[in-house]
Amino acid sequence: MIDGPRLATAAALSLLMCGAAQALEVGERAPDFTRADLSGRSVTLSAYRGKLLLLNFWATWCAPCREELPAFTRWQKSYGADGLQVIGISMDDEIESVRQLIARHPVSYPIVMGDAPLGERFGGVLGLPLTLLIDAEGRVVARYQGAADLPAMETTLRKLLAQRYH
């Protein structure tokens, strides 16, 4: 589901914490990054500016994450020509488990390896899956924490594609 703005009290309380990152919210600009994908090709987020980005933090050990991969693969094929770009960020500790899974069941979009610093730049990836829709200007327009309602997400991204690219 799409998170709403968090309460001011939560923000105030967070100041008491020992540096935990603030969650990246809808309306905020997504931080740029460059990472190599599983085949070694460089993936830079800002290079996709102008497209609707679906940025999916996931891991092979996360069952709800795995359930989402076939849909994302299908969407990249169906809506890629309309301006959608899916990018997967694996939070697995080991790249080998990701390679093995994707070798058996390829996806239609690049997957890069994430780490704690990258997660912190996105406000902390403290539970999976986490999926962000990022508009052509690089702003987060939807945020889905946990297993997403995929038909609803598809409806949202179709609307966004229709608004911005047609």
Binding site: T9, A21, C62, A63, P64, P70, D115, E120, G124, G127
Partner: protein
């Protein structure tokens, strides 16, 4: 729900993919629901306990999930001992508690994913039971560590 429904397309596609790709791995994972309710502790209760208890008397806190999540945020004073969904992680946990008395107070937690999907917590609990530990509590993280701990404003650390 019929095969023509949009939702059923997702369910069927995901189920087929999961069975084909990951059937053995999934069936091997122990469900978090197998942890007895009496062994669970809710986040608010643990946060209060830690706040009110002198450091020397606090339970041993072990994060048995994934390193990249621990590195981003964890309960202050907790140690990393996982991931217990893997043999290496179970060895790490076994080694960490090897010299502890069996009545040591231990709290384990993960929070990688929604409770019903956590691949680590039940495996960690079962190991500690098999090793004979009698005062093990399991932090019940319903959604994930971010939503159920960090966003609640409970004390959080980012450095090991």
């Amino acid at each position: 729900m019929t095969p023509q429904d949009p939702k059923s397309r997702y369910v069927i596609a995901a189920a087929w993919w999961l069975v084909a790709a990951l059937g053995p791995a999934i069936s091997a994972a122990q469900p978090a629901e197998s942890v007895p309710a009496a062994s669970l502790i809710e986040p608010l209760a643990l946060a209060s306990l830690l706040k009110e208890t002198p450091a020397a008397k606090q339970p041993l806190l072990l994060q048995v999930g994934f390193r990249k999540l621990y590195d981003q945020a964890h309960i202050p004073g907790s140690e990393y001992a996982g991931p217990t969904s893997t043999p290496a992680g179970l060895d790490a946990l076994r080694e960490r508690v090897a010299h502890l008395p069996k009545d040591a107070a231990i709290v384990i937690y993960c929070g990688c994913c929604p409770w019903s999907h956590c691949p680590n917590i039940a495996a960690a609990y079962d190991l500690l039971q098999k090793l004979g530990f009698t005062r093990v509590k399991v932090l019940h993280v319903a959604e994930n560590f971010g939503s159920d701990w960090v966003d609640k404003g409970y004390a959080t650390a980012t450095q090991p």
